[in-house]
């Protein structure tokens, strides 16, 4: 029981310590750091991976545990109440796994600071997903923006991207806080996540729903609130974007599932059509834009816009089967988008470019790298037998069952487009004649391979037997 707060605090504390402890002088600049700086980075990565693995173990060990301390009693009751709901459990596992994998392959300047930031990101997001109190959820919502913000500011490509990310998401955080506060005052308590209580009704309820929905749709993102996302995803260093796209993008979807659905079902139902229209636009919009991007990371970024639209459609349909599928797809998307960003990161580190116009023919000298990218891309395009397919199929069966035909047709078109842009991504990097002026580097190293293997293995395992996720 005591493990729950420790799970959240551990990465935060270890991250803070990594910042605070004295460091080796930073003589030598990446990619040729001094020996001491390199040792320092190695140590930080080992500590970081160990911390993330420890959180993973603690999550598994105390799957159903809860922990609570009273926080506010006026104007409404709120508590530091933590404990995984069934859905949150899987997302938290995904988070711990992705963090471990990402830290293992971190190769950036000032590695230790970056690892610390990744741990902070894990801790704040664990706080978010394990929160059972809306106010705590909203608090961690804002806190989890900060590591990414600093990541973009210090390791990103352009500071404007950091501000754009922050302002968009903080605006969402603002409406979330306002809605939460209003919710607490009307409902009397914010300690409501994962409880079966009466839904909220009244004159304020639509506004509260709007506040939640805005925050969640910005975070996911859904068209037309997405323009912060492509630069953020392409600007962040690969390990961090892997975690952000895999898990942070699920915060909004988790919010819809765990907050909007149980507490404001009438409004989800009432606004199902606009939600579906926006999600359907995202599906097609993301897919056709991904089709013509020449920056490999932007292809995946826009594919995220497209894929996550499907989950919003599933939630808006309010069909139980579709929602089961959505949970599978949340996990599957986390796994394959993390794997895609990590492997594309490996490619960029090797070749100093991620332009599809420049890259090509890497598969010959790097068969293992090609294999990893291939499995990740196939999972992303919904190849039957891998986890993404299960999610798509079950979602669409449910949505169709709920009586919506046109979103299903739109989603099928997006699936066809996905096969086109993901195969293009893979082929333009790995296939074709070798490009002469690209540096030839070693194939996937052991550490790189081990870092991406759990993600790929999970995609296969959940694709063959998704029952643990479907039976939540």
């Amino acid at each position: 029981m005591a493990l729950v707060p420790i799970t959240i605090l551990l990465p935060l504390v270890v991250g803070a310590l990594l910042y605070a402890l004295p460091r080796a002088p930073l003589d030598g600049v990446y990619p040729e750091p001094s020996r001491r700086a390199r040792g320092d980075g190695w140590l930080a990565r080992v500590i970081g991976v160990a911390t993330a693995v420890a959180t993973f173990a603690m999550l598994v060990a105390e799957r159903d545990a809860q922990w609570s301390v009273r926080w506010l009693s006026r104007p409404f009751t709120a508590a530091f109440h933590f404990g995984a709901t069934p859905v949150a459990f899987w997302i938290a596992l995904l988070l711990a796994l992705c963090t471990a994998c990402a830290i293992a392959t971190t190769r950036v300047a000032r590695t230790r600071d970056f690892v610390a930031l990744l741990l902070m990101l894990e801790g704040t997001m664990l706080g978010l997903f394990l929160a059972r109190d809306l106010l705590v959820f909203a608090l961690f919502w804002d806190l989890m923006l900060l590591p990414v913000f600093f990541g973009l500011l210090n390791w990103g490509e352009h500071p404007a991207t950091a501000w754009r990310y922050f302002i968009y998401n903080f605006a969402g955080g603002l409406t979330l806080l306002l809605a939460t506060a209003a919710f607490g005052v009307i409902y009397g308590s914010t300690d409501v996540i994962g409880r079966t209580g009466a839904p909220l009704v009244g004159a304020w309820a639509p506004w509260i729903f709007a506040g939640f929905a805005f925050a969640f749709l910005v975070k996911t993102p859904i068209w037309p609130l997405h323009t912060w996302m492509p630069p953020t995803y392409s600007g962040l260093p690969p390990p961090m974007v892997a975690v952000v796209s895999a898990v942070q993008s699920k915060a909004g979807l988790y919010g819809l599932l765990a907050i909007a659905l149980p507490l404001l079902p009438n409004y989800v139902h009432q606004y199902a059509l606009p939600l579906m229209v926006l999600a359907a636009v995202s599906l097609i919009y993301g897919a056709v834009v991904a089709l013509v991007q020449n920056d490999a990371k932007r292809v995946v970024a826009y594919s995220s816009l497209s894929h996550l639209g499907l989950i919003v459609i599933a939630i808006a349909s309010l069909n139980p089967l579709a929602i089961k599928g959505a949970i599978v797809y949340i996990v599957a998307h986390g796994l394959f988008s993390a794997a895609l960003f990590m492997v594309l990161g490996y490619v960029e580190e090797r070749e100093d470019t991620r332009s599809l116009l420049r890259l090509g023919g890497l598969g010959w000298k790097n068969p293992r790298l090609a294999g990893a990218l291939c499995i990740a891309a196939l999972a992303a395009l919904g190849l039957p037998g891998l986890a993404g397919f299960v999610g798509e199929l079950v979602i669409l069966i449910g949505v169709y069952q709920a009586g919506y035909t046109w979103p299903v047709v739109v989603a099928l078109i997006a699936i066809i487009l996905a096969s086109a842009y993901l195969i293009r991504l893979y082929q333009d990097v790995m296939n074709g004649p070798e490009v002469e002026d690209l540096p030839v580097r070693a194939d996937l190293s052991w550490v790189e391979g081990l870092a991406v293997a759990p993600l790929l293995f999970a995609l296969v395992a959940l694709g063959v037997d998704p029952a643990p996720l479907l039976r939540l």
């Binding site: 910042y19 605070a20 006026r74 754009r164 607490g184 005052v185 395009l381 397919f389 099928l412 479907l470």
Partner: protein, 642 residues
């Protein structure tokens, strides 16, 4: 006979083993490729061969009956109630399993020699084994989702093998095209599954067939139509056929196994498997029969205008699968499956024979640069000749019986127009197949390879083995009409239940239609002889072929403009839209609307810059402080709301 009990439930370790052995081969070749070296080919062949032996041993299980149940059915697991997965081996899947593992074994074995010296030797066998596993998944599944899983996996195996020589841009493009078009088919099948689950709440064949009687005929039509989109894409039917000729970029054994004998016939399997849905829906039957017939004719016409030996065979495959689809479409299931069965042998033989030629001539595929090969390569000549006689349907050869059954089936089930199209197609088939044979093997050699190097025994033996069934299996199994071994084998599968549809005795007998078809075949042969093999044509063969190349009608050179139409209607609009959204709508319209916010962000930026002291610890402090302020502030703001 009710169909809802499809197999006798039980435990069939043989069936499971025959399904999984090729997967084991794939994993071993993939993981230990560098260690295995040339052993990879032998290992993959051994495991596929073992799978064939197990299939033969499963004969009894596959043909057993108990009450209304036919074949062997084994549960594998379940996702959710209604989503139950299992294996089903009945006569229909047994026939496919025989071809997949039997012909598959011969072709994998042949590849040992054909792929010798390739830099990715082991990877090739990993893909081939994986393909066999995927194809077995497709035909052994007892439900549509499992079938779709196999469907998708054979697609990706085909993608890998078409693009096997991935340093060639043409192979890369062909692989991409094949993959995307096949996903179009997958999407169609997914839609069929949505319709099925929404109305029957189950995915199993048995559950659905037993509920089919209660479904409205409109619904059944749409289920059939959506399933058929899958068949159209996978089996290269009009208008989604354009990937198949391009798929010839893959190594020739791949073309033989995947793009001739097995994968491309998956659409035939799908329709035959879903026979209880099709049988009671005349509209769906007309749709499928018509598409099949048009494909048969189009493939044959395009086959007359090709110069690449493998492309000629590819269009021939397209045409033959058109026949099969037409047959199962109109309800002549036995005939369609029989054509699949015999075609697998003679088409594999044609491709492997072409492979012998290509291998010997240093990868020359243009028939204009062949000629006179019967003297250089008599073995390849005899192989090709027997296969050509089989495919054109010369009486006595296996193709004669199966094609006859298919063409007569059109009349039997009341489709005289389809009969006319398919009889005409038989004549064109004779023309383009003999054209290939005459140009490549007759006259004088026109190429520049001095010494055709002879293929080794590992390549010759599998081809020689194939000759026997493609010559004789028709006479052995298919002769005898209603009492043939074939008809008796399928009596329980496509028996009384399927005969519920109009089975009127046609105005003319099978003997007369055979005569008509054979007359057309002779005409096709005669034209080919006159144009390419008569002494007059032989004299200036090189110039004549050049003249034919120049005079080829544009509509044939552009393959009826199907590719251009797909580009114009789908590919380019999607790309234009993407470019517009990505480089105009996102940065200008959406971001333009939030430009004020960005302006504000800049202002905030200058404010915050004063806090950017570079001390990370200071950031952390500001962070915690700021977060606390927000919480306190909004807690009070909430109070004010009250």
């Amino acid at each position: 006979m009710p169909h809802h009990l499809l197999g006798v439930p039980g435990s069939y370790p043989l069936v499971e083993a025959l399904w999984l052995l090729p997967l084991a081969g794939a994993i071993l070749c993939w993981a230990f490729g560098p260690q295995l070296r040339t052993l990879a080919g032998w290992l993959a062949s051994a495991l596929v061969g073992a799978s064939f032996v197990l299939a033969a041993l499963s004969w009894g299980a596959a043909t057993q009956t108990a009450g209304a149940a036919l074949g062997a059915s084994q549960a594998l697991g379940s996702w959710l109630p209604g989503f139950d997965f299992g294996l089903l081996l009945d006569p229909l899947s047994l026939i496919w399993t025989f071809i997949i593992t039997g012909v598959g074994f011969l072709i994998v074995f042949y590849s040992i020699g054909y792929m010798e010296g390739d830099r990715a030797y082991a990877r090739f066998f990993a893909y081939m084994s994986f393909f066999v596993f995927a194809m077995l998944t497709l035909v052994l599944s007892d439900n549509w989702v499992g079938l779709l899983v196999g469907w998708g996996l054979v697609g990706v195996a085909s993608y890998f093998l078409i693009g096997f020589w991935f340093q060639r841009p043409s192979a890369v493009a062909a692989a991409r095209k094949a993959f995307v078009i096949n996903v179009v088919g997958d999407a169609g099948m997914m839609f069929a599954i949505f319709l099925i689950v929404a109305n029957v709440h189950a995915i199993g064949f048995g559950d659905v067939f037993s509920a089919a009687g209660g479904l409205s005929s409109t619904l059944v039509f749409w289920i059939c139509a959506a399933l058929f989109i899958g068949a159209v894409a996978k089996s290269a039917q009009i208008p989604l056929h354009t990937w198949l000729p391009d798929a010839m970029e893959g190594p020739t054994p791949v073309s033989a196994l995947i793009h001739a004998a097995t994968m491309v016939t998956a659409g035939v399997y799908l329709v035959a498997r879903s026979a209880p849905l099709w049988s009671h829906n005349p509209q769906a039957q007309v749709l499928v029969g018509t598409v099949g017939a048009i494909t048969a004719l189009t493939g044959a016409i395009l086959g007359t205008a090709q110069w690449d030996i493998k492309r000629i065979l590819a269009y021939s495959t397209m045409s033959q699968i058109g026949y099969m689809i037409m047959a199962v479409g109109v309800g002549a299931y036995e005939g369609g499956v029989a054509l699949f069965f015999t075609h697998a042998f003679f088409k594999a033989q044609l491709f492997l024979g072409a492979g012998l030629v290509i291998h010997a001539l240093n990868n020359e595929q243009d028939v204009r640069r062949m000629g006179g090969l019967w003297k250089k390569m008599p073995f390849a000549f005899w192989v090709m000749l027997t296969a050509v006689l089989a495919i054109t349907g010369v009486p006595g050869f296996s193709g004669f019986f199966s094609k006859d059954e298919v063409i007569f089936g059109d009349l039997q089930f009341g489709h005289p127009v389809l009969f006319a199209i398919s009889a005409l197609t038989a004549g064109i088939t004779a023309y383009y197949m003999f054209r290939l044979l005459f140009i490549a093997f007759f006259g004088e050699y026109r190429g520049d390879v001095d010494h055709a190097h002879a293929p080794g025994w590992t390549m010759n033996v599998p081809v020689a083995i194939l000759v026997a069934p493609s010559v004789a299996i028709g006479a052995a199994l298919l002769s005898g009409g209603e009492n043939s071994p074939w008809a008796r084998f399928f009596a329980a599968q496509f028996g009384p239940d399927m005969a519920a549809i109009a089975h009127r005795p046609p105005a003319i007998s099978e003997g007369v239609t055979s005569g008509i078809v054979f007359a057309l075949v002779l005409i096709g042969f005669a034209i080919a002889w006159w144009r390419y093999a008569s002494p007059g044509a032989q004299r200036d063969a090189g110039e004549r072929l050049e003249g034919e190349t120049r005079g080829m009608p544009a509509v044939l050179v552009h393959l009826f403009y199907v590719d251009d139409a797909i580009q114009l209607l789908f590919v380019r609009p999607a790309q234009r839209l993407g470019a517009f959204f990505g480089s105009i709508f996102d940065p200008h319209v959406i971001d333009g609307a939030v430009r004020d916010v960005v302006f504000w962000a800049r202002w905030l930026g200058t404010l915050v810059r004063s806090f950017q002291t570079g001390l990370v610890r200071a950031y952390a402090l500001i962070l915690v402080f700021g977060a606390t302020c927000f919480i306190v502030y909004y807690a009070f703001a909430a109070g004010a709301l009250h």
